[in-house]
């Protein structure tokens, strides 16, 4: 094991872990940032979505060594007080049921809005179809993304 330098939510950190360890487990087990969730371990469900230099990636298949020196943002870093327009919309629309997938959904949606501030239904389908919600909150996720997009204008 060697020390790997990573920048998480604006903080420079040094972690002593196996370089092939997925970022997900570094966040959860080493740094106790448990807002990022494990769902499948093979980039099939999106529960582990975080931002690397502003892009949404699946942290369950991203070796920590590959993100050394890059800016990592997790749900905990999106805002400190759930004040991001998407979080506000999520709250207003009462999107969450169990809530487990919603960190990943919000991080994916945040990356979408950065690229496409006014996404169409088809943009939302394309961006969000990698994120599974077993409770079935998709219709409210769509509504909340559109609502946040309105606010951001």
């Amino acid at each position: 094991m060697t020390a790997i330098k990573i920048n998480v939510n604006g903080k420079e950190l040094s972690v002593e872990v196996s370089p092939d360890m997925p970022l997900l487990w570094v966040l959860r087990d080493t740094l106790s940032l448990t807002g990022t969730k494990f769902g499948c371990g093979m980039a099939q469900c999106g529960a582990c979505t975080v931002h690397i230099n502003g892009e949404a990636i699946r942290s369950c298949v991203t070796p920590v060594s590959s993100v050394a020196g890059k800016k990592i943002v997790t749900i905990e870093g999106l805002s400190s007080d759930h004040s991001h327009p998407l979080q506000k919309a999520w709250i207003q629309v009462n999107v969450s049921q169990c809530g487990y997938c919603q960190s990943g959904q919000i991080m994916q949606a945040a990356a979408l809005l950065r690229q496409k501030p006014k996404p169409t239904d088809s943009d939302i389908d394309t961006a969000m179809r990698g994120n599974i919600c077993r409770c079935g909150t998709y219709q409210r996720i769509r509504q909340a993304i559109k609502q946040a997009a309105e606010v951001k204008q």
Binding site: M42, S96, G136, Y138
Partner: protein, 742 residues
């Protein structure tokens, strides 16, 4: 009978409340006692706790598990309503597992149904005691004192005292008798019937909610477990040399296999213990394990399906008999018959099973995502050979449950491993574990036959099903469905047909069978409501009109003895008719005639005491791709506490039902499950799920019924009925993914 008693002993409640708090313990009858009708002999089970602190904080215990229904918020609002508490000053605390709460088994869509009255009584009792305390303090009649919005007011003198100031004197008041309590009228409700936000709303969109997989205990190690790919397989040998070379891996531990019945016992296997989850998983992959697979290695889904179909082609045990079906068929008139098949399904909650346990000094401390913390106590106690009183189970948020997390095998694994290594242990199932070692929804075949009159209406109706029972969990020799399973939409079909017989044939289990959201209603509703649609088509009649004709005039249906539940919740066809008419009207059924590639489908199903009718709009494009633009659901669940959360349940149920109809299938070969993760056990994604589900709730003062599950059963048949109307293809076997529609 007094249903509330005052508890002033702090020790009874642990540290949750301060010593001077007014604490109420409401008591309700367990449902089993209600069903058996043996009220007088039934034990009184305490279930609901409510306390007022001297600073005015009202603490309400959430004793049911939160897995997305909002129950941990919604039940407390009922108590807060009758207490007339200021919701901002209410603190909801999650209860640990303890029999004193009554049943904590959060399944069967019964949390509101079973605890609505208890919560109201807890709130109303506290309110009256606060009013009495204020009256005594002011020396005025209690009738002049009124509790409102967290204070008691004496109108004429305009004096007022806060709930906090009154907590200590109120605790000295005798508990009111049930007949002394008064309840608000619906017009006075501030919370009931309103869209109250859930208490976890902010936490759930900021990563702050703590699920079972997130729980931590100081000094904790992590485990990944390799299990027999065939149910009941025995460990022959294993080599952990390579596993132990993985940095972070500490050791391996063998978990003994179970003796049948499997119950909630661990499956057995080889655990890799490591300093983090990833190392444990990597170590596990490097284990070399040999299994003796045993008798269940014969299980093969293709041949088993054929076996089930052959079973339902032959006469079987009658489980409901009305009139004389055989005599009617013997007349030799027109008949129609069809066979249906629904494969195994997996729960696949987004959070896989996970738990943390710390076993020391003969005691177990547990943090788990569980639907049933008392089953955790029983299961862990049995596994460790300790008293269940020594198992303290803290319930975290659940990342989905759907019935999977009622079965705490994964918690017992954590406890056994902790005992073995002498440290706290977190067990995390991988998605592959979750898909391969589930308690699956059963696999089923159904045979339907009807004799038809000149209007195409059935004069005789025969239905036969066969599927391995979930009761094999508790008795390995079980070879036919239980009354509980058959009561889910099979022996209580509410059609007005003079001759009806329901039958059930034998079936053996080769994997663990469990209850999954809406349970046996899934296959029963699929067969029955697909068949109704077939008959309507044969009769060349409008499918909604035909369905209403089968349901018949408003009446109470005499179904299998349901004890006292039947008195409070009779099966009323008028309410079923009403939701069918509502859903049809809301969907524009009358004006929207089927076109090539686009049509509506209807199904209506009564389950968990709730009446649900669903109209689904389906589009099938030139490549056979299915799109579901809209679902209209009408439901009558009696009194609704939180309409927004009820809507959310039915929106979610539409997606859950669409998942199983479109793509859900678990198969076995050589006794091993062939699927492993979301790429081959597919669930609906945002681009595949129904796009818009509109939920229409009947306003009702009837006793509250279930909402978590009853939205699911009508979805698959309604989708398939719409596909038939749009394409002419009748689907009798799920999932749809296996069929070419064009």
């Amino acid at each position: 009978m007094n249903r509330v008693e005052v508890i002033n002993r702090r020790a009874f409640l642990g540290s949750m409340f301060s010593a001077s708090a007014l604490v109420l313990v409401a008591r309700v009858l367990p449902v089993e006692a209600m069903v058996s009708g043996d009220v007088d002999k039934a034990a009184w089970h305490p279930s609901v706790y409510l306390g007022v602190e001297t600073d005015g904080t009202v603490i309400i215990m959430a004793h049911r598990s939160e897995m997305g229904t909002g129950i941990r918020s919604v039940l407390p609002t009922i108590a807060a309503e009758e207490l007339d508490a200021d919701w901002k000053r209410v603190k909801v605390e999650q209860a640990i597992g303890d029999a004193k709460y009554g049943s904590q088994n959060t399944d069967g869509s019964c949390s509101i149904r079973d605890f609505y009255d208890a919560m109201r009584e807890a709130g109303a009792s506290a309110r009256l005691m606060l009013e009495r305390a204020a009256a005594a303090k002011w020396g005025v009649p209690v009738s002049e004192c009124k509790a409102q919005n967290h204070q008691v007011v004496h109108k004429s003198s305009k004096r007022q005292l806060g709930y906090g100031e009154l907590a200590a004197p109120a605790a000295q008041q005798p508990a009111p008798k049930r007949e002394e309590l008064s309840f608000k009228s619906s017009a006075e409700y501030r919370y009931i019937g309103k869209d109250m936000p859930i208490v976890d709303r902010e936490d759930l969109c900021s990563g702050k909610g703590i699920f079972g997989i997130d729980a931590q205990i100081e000094g904790m190690v992590y485990a990944a477990i390799e299990r027999s790919p065939v149910l009941g397989g025995k460990l022959k040998s294993f080599d952990d040399q390579e596993a132990r070379k993985v940095p972070g891996v500490e050791r391996t531990v063998v978990i003994e296999g179970f003796k049948p019945p499997h119950g909630f016992k661990p499956l057995g296997g080889v655990a890799v213990i490591a300093s983090n989850t990833w190392a444990a998983m990597q170590g596990r992959e490097r284990l070399k394990v040999e299994w003796e697979p045993g008798a269940n290695a014969s299980y093969d889904s293709t041949s088993y399906k054929q076996q089930l179909i052959e079973t339902v082609r032959k006469p079987q045990r009658a489980v409901r008999n009305v009139g004389d079906v055989d005599a009617e068929f013997a007349k030799g008139g027109k008949t129609h018959e069809a066979e249906y098949y629904v494969p195994h399904l997996a729960h696949a909650p987004m959070e896989p099973p996970a738990a943390v346990a710390h076993v020391r000094d003969g005691k177990a401390l547990i943090y788990a995502a569980t639907q049933n913390p008392q089953a955790v106590q029983d299961t862990v106690a049995a596994a460790l050979g300790i008293d269940k009183k020594n198992v303290e189970c803290h319930v975290t948020l659940l990342g989905g449950g759907f019935g999977r997390k009622s079965k705490p095998d994964y918690v017992a694994e954590a406890a056994l491993l902790s005992k073995s290594v002498g440290k706290p242990v977190k067990v995390t199932w991988t998605r592959e574990d979750d898909i391969r070692f589930d308690y699956y929804h059963t696999v089923s075949a159904m045979y339907m036959k009807a004799a038809l009159d000149e209007k195409g209406r059935p004069t005789a109706w025969l239905q036969r099903c066969a599927f391995p029972s979930m009761m094999t969990t508790f008795n390995a020799a079980t070879a036919s469905a239980s009354g509980g399973e058959l009561g889910m939409g099979w022996t209580n079909v509410p059609f007005d047909i003079p001759n009806q017989r329901a039958e059930n044939g034998p079936a053996q289990h080769h994997v663990r069978i469990g209850w999954l959201r809406s349970v046996a209603n899934i296959q029963h509703a699929f067969a029955i409501h697909s068949f109704v649609d077939e008959l309507a088509h044969l009769a060349k009649r409008d499918r909604v009109e035909y369905l209403l004709d089968l349901v018949g005039q408003p009446r109470k249906v005499d179904v299998a003895a349901r004890g006292r539940l039947a008195e409070k919740y009779p099966l009323e066809t008028g309410r079923l008719r009403n939701v069918i008419e509502m859903a049809a009207a809301a969907s524009g059924w009358a004006k929207r005639k089927p076109a090539k590639g686009r049509a509506l489908g209807v199904a209506a199903h009564y389950s968990f005491l709730t009446y649900v009718a669903t109209v689904v709009e389906v589009e099938v494009d030139a490549t056979g791709k299915i799109r579901i633009p809209r679902v209209d659901v009408a439901l009558d669940a009696g009194r609704v506490i939180n309409p927004d959360r009820v809507k959310a349940q039915f929106e979610g149920a539409a997606v859950f039902g669409a998942s199983l109809a479109l793509m859900g299938e678990i198969t076995a070969a050589g006794g091993e499950i062939e699927q492993s993760n979301f790429h081959d056990y597919r669930v609906a994604r945002i681009n595949e799920a129904p796009i818009e589900t509109r939920v229409h709730i009947v306003q009702s003062d009837a006793p509250p019924a279930g909402v978590g599950e009853p939205g699911v059963p009508p979805i698959p048949p309604a989708i398939c009925n719409a596909i038939f109307a749009a394409t002419g293809k009748r689907i009798r076997e799920l999932p749809l993914r296996k069929h070419k529609l064009v």
